[in-house]
């Protein structure tokens, strides 16, 4: 979709965003810069599905931090600091976020090369922890390399005995320069880079990319390909949620269930393979449609779904009806609804805190306008609520897959795209990935090539939530909290 574009003075920006946030349904999608000379802010309206893009030019390398009045922007500003070398003055937590501090000086990869970094930015990039003072406090560093097969991220837990008082999340080990790379390659190849932003979210990333490009080109994909895209997205959601539940069961020590869910995740991935030829749906969705029509295999997909549903139901029942599971998860990693909305949580985490935000409804595309699922809401905001939301979404995804399969429109799967992108245009793709709201933003320059490609992964919002939810839990609950958030490292670090 194409956002409404508005220019603002930098000193008005904070007030405008705040005023917008007062209005029901408005939320901040993304705050970033194009080349270090301006701030752009994408505002979303979850009710009407409208989007607004504010652009405010910057006179210098520093600006008054927006975080002081709008807490949820703190992570965005840290990212801007890393990528563009801009300094938000008065930011309470200015430290590396996306690019690890081991890059000792700011190299600001997305900055306009002509513009040098002023000397004062070349300060050390030491990651200053929030030190908690007091004799009994001890600090527990965990990671960045973990004992399991997970991505790198470092956590610093400040503890009093078993109680965690503060958790600092230190990321940026996986920065690969995806946003930069996309601007350097021909736009037709960009989809391969875009979907590599987070490999477990490959389909959602590819879809968001496709939507952004299509909105630039004003192309509408065929109904059949839209159906197939939704199918792919739901299969991804299904597989990943099952995988997360398996991980949760494993962390609970519920090994039999964990093994069972891991097996079922394999079945769900087989659905993906049948649909696209890739178990992780890579390379399937492209701007203009999808690459491959699984025509003959649809009945096979239907059969596998039925099979999966039959196997899944008893396992899910067995898992959640166990009172010990219930008790273990309840009140673990609780995130209050007010803090969740103040920090702009998205996806499963938000819905577990009773925030009814699901891009499948708010920014419906593909088959969603016709048959979008009801939003799975929970009140409590604890690990149990998040697990229940996941389970509800597994069920709704299964239903959705069945519905789509039963009346998939016929037709072609791709459409011809123009050769060039339009000049000075802005396109956005918003997709509900399995973790939550995923935004791809494309801005082209006057030659029609991509000038700035911004990706906002759902984890980007939710990492703060994990840090808050860990407070006043015990150390041994950390794995469960972490798993209930199921955040992506690579999606965040880009």
């Amino acid at each position: 979709m194409i956002p409404v574009y508005k220019k603002l003075a930098i000193n008005e920006l904070a007030n405008t965003i705040r005023a917008d946030l007062e209005i029901e349904g408005n939320r901040v999608g993304l705050v970033t810069s194009i080349d270090g000379n301006q701030l752009i802010t994408l505002m979303l309206n979850t009710r009407s599905g409208n989007t607004v893009l504010y652009q405010a030019e910057l006179a210098s390398d520093s600006y008054t931090s927006l975080t002081t009045t709008i807490p949820q922007l703190h992570w965005h500003e840290r990212a801007i600091h890393d990528l563009f070398g801009l300094i938000p003055l008065g930011h309470p937590r200015l430290k590396p976020a996306i690019i690890n501090e081991s890059c000792e000086t700011i190299f600001a990869p997305l900055r306009e090369t002509a513009k040098p970094i002023s000397d004062k930015l070349l300060a050390t990039r030491d990651f200053e922890y929030l030190h908690i003072s007091g004799e009994p406090i001890f600090e527990l560093p965990v990671g960045p390399v973990h004992a399991g097969i997970i991505e790198p991220g470092h956590f610093m837990l400040s503890c009093l005995g078993e109680d965690v008082l503060n958790l600092e999340v230190r990321l940026g080990y996986l920065h690969r320069g995806i946003e930069k790379r996309i601007t350097e390659i021909p736009w037709r190849k960009a989809r391969f880079v875009a979907e590599a932003a987070a490999s477990d979210t490959a389909c959602a990333n590819a879809l968001a990319h496709a939507l952004a490009i299509e909105s630039l080109l004003a192309v509408e994909p065929s109904f059949r390909s839209q159906g197939l895209r939704t199918l792919a997205l739901e299969i991804e959601r299904l597989a990943m949620h099952i995988g997360d539940i398996a991980g949760m069961a494993y962390d609970l020590g519920y090994l039999v269930i964990a093994a069972n869910f891991s097996r079922l995740r394999g079945t769900a991935l087989r659905l993906a393979e049948l649909l696209s030829g890739s178990r992780f749906l890579r390379g399937y969705i492209c701007p203009g449609g999808v690459v491959h029509d699984p025509d003959r295999l649809l009945s096979e997909i239907q059969r596998t779904t039925k099979n999966l549903r039959e196997n899944l139901k008893p396992a899910l029942d067995f898992f959640i009806s166990n009172p010990a599971v219930y008790e273990r998860l309840r009140n673990t990693g609780k995130l209050s609804s007010s803090l969740a909305s103040e920090f702009g949580m998205v996806g499963v985490v938000a819905r577990a805190c009773n925030i009814a935000y699901d891009c499948r409804q708010s920014f419906a595309q593909g088959s969603y306008p016709k048959n979008h699922p009801t939003i799975a809401l929970q009140q409590e905001g604890d690990a149990l609520a998040r697990t229940l939301v996941r389970i509800a979404e597994i069920n709704s995804s299964l239903d959705l897959i069945d519905t789509i399969l039963s009346d998939l429109p016929s037709g072609t799967i791709g459409s011809n795209l123009p050769v060039d992108l339009p000049a000075n245009a802005i396109g956005i793709g918003i997709v509900e990935a399995f973790r939550g709201e995923l935004i791809h933003l494309v801005i082209t320059d006057k030659a029609g090539s991509i000038k700035r490609y911004a990706i906002k992964d759902p984890s980007f919002n939710n990492w703060t939530g994990l840090a808050i939810a860990m407070r006043n839990n015990v150390i041994a609950d950390f794995p469960i909290c972490n798993k209930s958030f199921a955040l992506s490292y690579s999606g965040h670090d880009l």
């Binding site: 975080t67 002081t68 807490p71 703190h74 309470p92 937590r93 929030l130 908690i132 003072s133 007091g134 004799e135 009994p136 406090i137 001890f138 600090e139 527990l140 560093p141 965990v142 990671g143 960045p144 390399v145 470092h154 503890c159 009093l160 005995g161 078993e162 109680d163 008082l165 503060n166 803090l339 103040e342 920090f343």
Partner: protein, 606 residues
């Protein structure tokens, strides 16, 4: 071994009379051992306190204190006892106050003085009562029967205050840490045992036993033990930790005395013997290992000028011998075989265990079962407490820069510590012999049936093969160490502690004393009044706190809800009384007059 020597020196009503029986001899031996160690230790220890305390003041009081204790142990009648008891109490109070400059020392001295005053007055009343019943000041004439029971209870309470039994232990954690280390060693090691000695002499030696006193002792003893160890566990000051641990041990000893009294009353000869020996043996053991621990702490103090665990850490590399001595002391305090602490704890267990086995006494069976469970729990807590004390102070990485300059204690300090260490180890290894010796003591004083003694000896010998165990253990360890680990010493790589790739852990990234005991402390939060206080500051405290300050607080339930109200009301009352003292001669004459009339009327009546 009986030795009695009355002297024609009178304290008003009774002569100075001393005697030495095997029981007193054992305690005198303990006193002399600890005195010796303290005396060797003190000169170089006092060097680090130069300017803070006056040497001659210290030594004079020290000698008075030791002589006081010695004479208390030797006194044969109540008056002699009371006189030297006072000398012992006052000189030890003076020693607590030896650091004139410290405000803490003042407070500690005041509290300690208050406690000893009350203890002495209770003792005095009790002794007078005894005298009115038996019309003799001699301890040997005093029996324990229903008539003398109230007096006995008064005396027992007085002794409990001195011994630091719950709920009168309040003075102990103030006074012991404030005194210089050799004095703490004597106070904790010997002085509180003097009270136990008196309890044994007055209540056990008459031989008749008493159920009431027994229940009182067992209840107070077990509560003190639990209370003491829980408080010890959460202390961060080493000396306070040790002081509270003394409360635990003295509680166990008192409980054993209680069992002995009960068994004497109900005629369970064997149990009486076991628990008597247990009380005696544990008194001696605790005297030795607690003095050892206090002296080692003194060595740390003189090297580091701090006893706070947050400033210590990694000392074992700087002070290997001191740390070895402390380790042995700590292991003995945890009752690890084959050290002396185990042997006496084992006897305490046996005392309780034999009761349900003999199937005698309804309530006592329940009590002993609960006590065994409690003892096990206490054992676990003591383990947590002393592993914390040792590991946080001596192991890990230094928590403050001062540690890099720390030096091993001077040779004389080491000799003192190591000799006590040696005694602890030897007493453990030779425990069957020592135990049978102590049972002979009981026999020589009380003459129980031969059967009990021989049964007891048979039962201890094979059950406590500590010497062979130690030998086998040492051999096995050496063999395994040599064959598995030592051979590979060339391949040994030294590296940083796992630090998540950050290049050096900060001192805060290791166990802290507060964190180590936090889990247990939260379990006992109701009695400890354990709470965590947060102070969060910053412009946007809700979202981005800038500073978080955390403190844990404990306030003893006793102090906050019983003692302070009493002290406050006393203070209030004394405020009112002070009005009586107006300074006017006429008013005083009026008082004299009223008193005169009152006395005359009373005299006329009788």
């Amino acid at each position: 071994m009986h030795f009695s020597a009355p002297y024609p020196i009178y304290f008003g009503v009774a002569p100075l009379s001393l005697f030495l029986d095997p029981l007193a001899a054992i305690f005198v031996l303990l006193l002399l051992t600890v005195t010796m160690a303290s005396a060797i230790f003190a000169p170089s220890y006092l060097r680090h306190l130069t300017g803070k305390i006056n040497q001659s003041y210290f030594w004079i009081n020290m000698i008075l204190f030791i002589v006081g204790m010695l004479m208390v142990l030797l006194s044969a009648n109540a008056v002699t006892f009371l006189v030297f008891w006072e000398i012992m109490s006052l000189s030890s109070a003076a020693l607590v106050a030896s650091d004139f400059s410290s405000h803490k020392a003042h407070k500690a001295t005041i509290i300690y003085l208050g406690a000893t005053r009350i203890a002495t007055s209770l003792l005095a009343i009790g002794f007078l009562w005894y005298y009115s019943i038996f019309s003799s000041w001699n301890f040997v004439d005093w029996k324990l029967n229903s008539e003398s029971l109230p007096a006995a209870i008064l005396v027992a309470l007085g002794l409990c205050i001195k011994a630091g039994i719950w709920p009168f232990h309040i003075w102990l954690p103030y006074a012991h840490p404030q005194a210089p280390a050799p004095v703490s060693a004597l106070m904790s090691g010997v002085m509180i045992k003097v009270a136990i000695y008196a309890a044994i002499r007055l209540f056990v030696l008459p031989g008749s036993g008493s159920e009431e006193l027994a229940y009182l002792f067992i209840a107070l003893g077990m509560i003190s033990a639990l209370w003491g160890i829980v408080f010890a566990l959460i202390q961060t000051d080493l000396k306070r930790l040790l002081a509270y641990s003394s409360v635990e041990n003295i509680g166990l000893i008192l409980a054993s005395v209680g069992i002995c009294l009960w068994a004497q009353k109900t005629g369970m000869k064997e149990i009486a013997l076991i628990s008597f020996v247990a009380a005696l043996f544990h008194s001696i053991n605790h005297g030795i290992f607690k003095s050892l621990l206090f002296l080692s702490t003194g060595a740390i103090d003189s090297a580091m000028h701090s006893r706070e665990m947050k400033n210590l850490g990694g000392l074992s590399k700087k002070m290997p011998w001191t740390s070895f001595a402390f380790l042995v002391g700590a292991a003995s305090a945890c009752a690890l075989p084959p050290l002396s602490g185990f042997a006496s704890k084992w006897l305490i267990y046996q005392g309780f265990f034999t009761i349900p086995c003999q199937w005698h006494g309804k309530a006592m069976i329940g009590i002993s079962l609960v006590s065994i469970g409690l003892l096990a729990f206490l054992g676990g807590l003591a383990l947590a407490c002393f592993t914390k004390a040792f590991a946080i102070s001596f192991l890990g990485r230094p928590r403050s820069a001062a540690i890099n300059h720390a030096k091993e204690a001077s040779p004389s300090m080491l000799i003192a510590q190591l000799s006590l260490t040696l005694i602890t180890v030897l007493m453990g290894l030779l425990s069957p012999q020592i135990i049978s010796f102590f049972s002979l003591v009981y026999q020589s004083i009380l003459v129980p049936e031969e059967a009990a003694i021989s049964g007891f000896a048979k039962f201890v010998g094979p059950s406590l093969p500590l010497l062979p165990l130690a030998i086998v253990l040492t051999l096995l360890t050496c063999i395994i160490y040599y064959s598995v680990l030592f051979r590979k010493r060339k391949q040994l790589k030294l590296s940083m502690t796992w630090e998540c790739g950050y290049g050096g852990l900060e001192p805060t990234m290791q166990a802290t004393a507060g964190s180590f005991s936090h889990s247990i402390a939260t379990i006992f939060a109701p009695i400890l009044h354990y709470s965590t206080r947060f102070q969060i500051s910053g412009k946007d405290r809700r979202h981005f706190p800038e500073q978080i300050q955390v403190e844990t607080e404990i306030s003893s339930l006793l102090e906050s809800s019983i003692y302070s109200p009493i002290i406050n009301s006393v203070r209030l009352l004394s405020g009112h009384f002070s009005k009586l003292q107006a300074g006017s001669i006429h008013l005083y004459l009026l008082y004299v007059f009223i008193t005169l009339i009152a006395l005359l009327t009373l005299g006329a009546k009788s």
